[in-house]
Subunit: 411 residues, 2 copies
C-alpha cells in the first residue's frame, strides 16, 4: 500500500485502497498524433459510457484564457460531460479565432469518436503558448484513439497529457462507502507554470459513484481548494488550467447530499487530489525538495499573503534547493507580504526547531537545523500575532534544472 500516498502530509484514509484501471463506465486511450515533434504521446481521449453521467469542472482565473477553456466554458454542459479530449505539446492559447476553430474541431471529432453530443465533450490543451494548434493532427489521432479505448487506458491517457512532467501522475482507488464500494481514479499533469489559482494543471477525475451534478460540484470545489489551490512551483498561473470530475454512476452506489457516503467519498477525493497536487510540486521543473509553509494567526488575508510570499520567494526556494536553513529569508518574505506592519513579532519554526521568536533570532542548534532541512520534505511554520486564521502552501525548490528547462527550451 505504499505506492501512491508517498507524502507525510497526506494520509490515506482507512476506507481507501489502491487498485488499477478506471472506474466502471469509463474508457480511455492515449496516442501520438504528431503535435509533439518528438513523436511522443500527445493526445488523450476519455469517455464515459453512461448516459446519466454527471460532472463538475474548474478552470483558470487568468485574464488570458486558452481556446479550449473558452470552448468548455461557452459550449459545454459542464454538469453532464461524457468525454474529454486533451492534447499536450500545444496550449492553443493566444491563438485567436483560429485557435477557437481548432478547439471546436477537436471537440467535434471527439464527439464522433466517443459517440456523444459535442456539448458533452470537454477540450483541454497544454504546451507552448502562442502557436497555432494543428487541429487536423488531433482529428486524425482521435480516430485511432477511439479504437484504442479501454478500461485500463488511464495509464496511456495520463501519458498523453505530459509536457515537462518527469513522471505521470495518476492513481486508481477503491473507496468503501457506508452504502457500498465505489472506485475513484485521477490523472494529472503539471510541472511548471504552477500557481496561485490552481496551477498549469490538467487533472481528470473519474468515479463510478452516482452523484448529482450539484454534489459533484460541491465535492470538487472543496477539494480543489485544499489541493491544487495550495501549491506553487513557480508562482505562475497558467492560461489552460482545467480540473474535471466525472461520475458515471455505474457502481449503482448513490451518494446523497449530507450523508456519511458523501463525507467518505469527499475524504477519498481530498486525499487523491492532495497527493496528486503534491506530486505536481515534487515534479516541479527541476525540483529536488518539497516545502510546506504553514502560517497561522492574524486574519485570512494576512496568512494567505504571507504563505504565498514564502512559497514563491526565489530566495527561499534556492535555499531549500541547497539544503540551507537560511531562515532570515522567511522573515524577509513575510515582512514583504505585510507592508506597514513593522515591527512584526513573528515566530518561525523549521521542522520543529524554533529560530525566531517575537521577531528576533533565538538561540538554536545549527547542526540540528542543518539536519532538519536535509530531507526531501521541509516544513516551515510561521506564527503571526493573533489567532483565528491558518493556511498552508506546498512548494518546490528552485534549482539548476528549472533554469535549464526554461532557458534552453521553448516550453
Amino acid at each position: 500500500m505504499s505506492g501512491f500516498f508517498t507524502s507525510r502530509w497526506v494520509q490515506r484514509p482507512d476506507h481507501v485502497a489502491e487498485t488499477a484501471g478506471l472506474p466502471a463506465g469509463f474508457r480511455a486511450a492515449g496516442v501520438a498524433c504528431g503535435i509533439k515533434e518528438s513523436g511522443a504521446s500527445d493526445l488523450g481521449l476519455l469517455v464515459c459510457d453512461e448516459p446519466q453521467a454527471t460532472s463538475a469542472a474548474r478552470f483558470t482565473r487568468s485574464g488570458v484564457v486558452a481556446a479550449p477553456v473558452l470552448v468548455c466554458q461557452e459550449r459545454c454542459d459542464l454538469a453532464g460531460l461524457r468525454a474529454v479530449v486533451a492534447n499536450s505539446g500545444n496550449a492553443n492559447a493566444a491563438t485567436g479565432r483560429r485557435g477557437l476553430d481548432a478547439a471546436a474541431k477537436m471537440q467535434g471529432a471527439a464527439a464522433i469518436a466517443a459517440g456523444v453530443q459535442e456539448s458533452l465533450v470537454a477540450v483541454a490543451s497544454t504546451g507552448v503558448i502562442g502557436v497555432q494548434l494543428p487541429a487536423e493532427k488531433a482529428v486524425g489521432g482521435l480516430a485511432r484513439a477511439a479504437g484504442a479505448l479501454s478500461a485500463q487506458g488511464d495509464e496511456d491517457f495520463a501519458e498523453a497529457i505530459r509536457t515537462t512532467d518527469a513522471f505521470a501522475k495518476r492513481a486508481a482507488l477503491e473507496v468503501t462507502l457506508p452504502s457500498g464500494t465505489v472506485r475513484l481514479a485521477g490523472q494529472a499533469k503539471g510541472a511548471g507554470m504552477i500557481s496561485p489559482g490552481f496551477a498549469t494543471l490538467l487533472c481528470f477525475v473519474q468515479t463510478d459513484a452516482r452523484l448529482s451534478a450539484e454534489t459533484a460540484d460541491l465535492l470538487l470545489g472543496v477539494t480543489v481548494k485544499r489541493s491544487f489551490e495550495r501549491i506553487s512551483v513557480d508562482g505562475q498561473l497558467s492560461t489552460n488550467d482545467t480540473v474535471i470530475l466525472m461520475a458515471s454512476g455505474a457502481s449503482g452506489v448513490h451518494v446523497e447530499p449530507e450523508t456519511p457516503d458523501e463525507l467518505a467519498l469527499g475524504e477519498a477525493l481530498d486525499a487523491l487530489l492532495r497527493q496528486l497536487a503534491l506530486l505536481v510540486v515534487a515534479d516541479g521543473e527541476g525540483a529536488a525538495r518539497v516545502g510546506r509553509v504553514v502560517v497561522s494567526g492574524g486574519h485570512d488575508l494576512h496568512v494567505e499573503h504571507a504563505a504565498r510570499a514564502v512559497a514563491n520567494s526565489p530566495l527561499i526556494k534556492t535555499a531549500l534547493h541547497g539544503g540551507d536553513p537560511n531562515w532570515g529569508r522567511i522573515v524577509q518574505a513575510v515582512g514583504m507580504a505585510l507592508p506597514g506592519t513593522a515591527p512584526l513579532p513573528l515566530d518561525v519554526h523549521i521542522e520543529g526547531v524554533q529560530v525566531c521568536s517575537g521577531g528576533a533570532v533565538v538561540p538554536y542548534d545549527p547542526q540540528a537545523l542543518d539536519a532538519a532541512v536535509a530531507g526531501p520534505e521541509v516544513e516551515y511554520v510561521v506564527g503571526l500575532p493573533g489567532d483565528g486564521a491558518e493556511t498552508e502552501v506546498f512548494f518546490s525548490d528552485l534549482g539548476h534544472r528549472y533554469i535549464e528547462i526554461n532557458a534552453e527550451y521553448t516550453t
Copy 2:
C-alpha cells in the same frame, strides 16, 4: 563621456558631466572591521562638514524592518543628517533588542568619529538576516574610518557597502544649473533581494547645492519613484532598504523651489538614480541581460500589476537568460496579473517586433525575433485595452549563477 551612463534607457542630460570625488563639504572612507569573515571592506563612513546641511530619506516598507532602519526612523533628524555609517556582511535584521542596541552603538560611535550629534547620524546595514551584529567590531572600525576620511573617499565608501555585488555602483557628476555649477555624487549597493518598494538597496547621494529639506525630500521622492521603485531582480523586498540624499550647500548655489535650477538639478538626480538602478539590475545576482517591460492602457493598477508580473516571472526571466523569445510567457503573466478579464485583447511587441495583436499570435519573422532578444538589453511592450496609464519595470534575467549564489551560500 561613456563611463557611467551605459544604458540606452537613460540619457545623460546635456548639462551633466562626469567628474570624480565627492561634492564640496563631504568626506568619506571605507575600512575592513571584521564583520565579513573574508576580511573584505565592510564599514563605510560618510560625513558632511557643513552645519547647515539638509537631507531626505526613504526606507523599506516591509513589515519586518532591520534595527538600523528603526534607529533612523525613530532617533534621527532625517531632514538634517550630517553623517552616515553603513556596514555590509550583516543586515542586523530580526535581531530584536540586542540588534537595536548594536545599531545605536554604531550611531553613537559614528557621531563621535564625525563630530556631530547622534541624531544627525544615519545607520544602514546589509547582509545576512537573523544573526546578531558584532557592534564592537564596527565601533573599532569607526575610529580608523574617521582617520581615513577624504573628499576622494567615495570609492572606498562604495566598496564597503558591497555584499554580493559584482561591481561597485557609483558616480560623481558636475551639474550646470542656471544659477551656477554644483556637484552630485551617488553610491549604491544591491544585487539580490531587489524589488517592489525600492530594493535591497542602500544608496547614498550627496550634492553641494544648497537645498531646503523640503526640496531635498521632494526631489528624492520623485526620482526614487522613477528609479529604485521600478526595478526587480527577484521580486524580494528587503528589510534594510535605505536611500539618503544629503545637501551640504558648500557650492553656494541656492536651488529654490519651482525654479529652472530645481528642474535642472532634478533632471540630473533623475538620470543618476535611474542609471544606478539599472546598474543594480544589471548586477542582479547572476544576471546576464536586462529587460524593460513597458505596459500601457487600462488604468494605473492594471499596468502596475501587469508590469510587475512580467518582471517577476521566473519563466520570462529564464527565457530572457536563454535568449529565448518565448512571448507566450508574457501573455501568461499578464493574464495572471489581471484575473477575470478574459478574453483580454492585448498586444505584445518585443524590440519592435509585434508578436501578438488583440490577444492572438500574428505572423512574424522568427529569425528577426531571435536576433532581437540576443542583445544585452531587451524591451517588451505590452498594450492593454484603453489608454491613459503607462508604467515600466526594469528586471534582470534568471540564470544558473543566481541559483549558485543563493543555494550554496548563506547571504
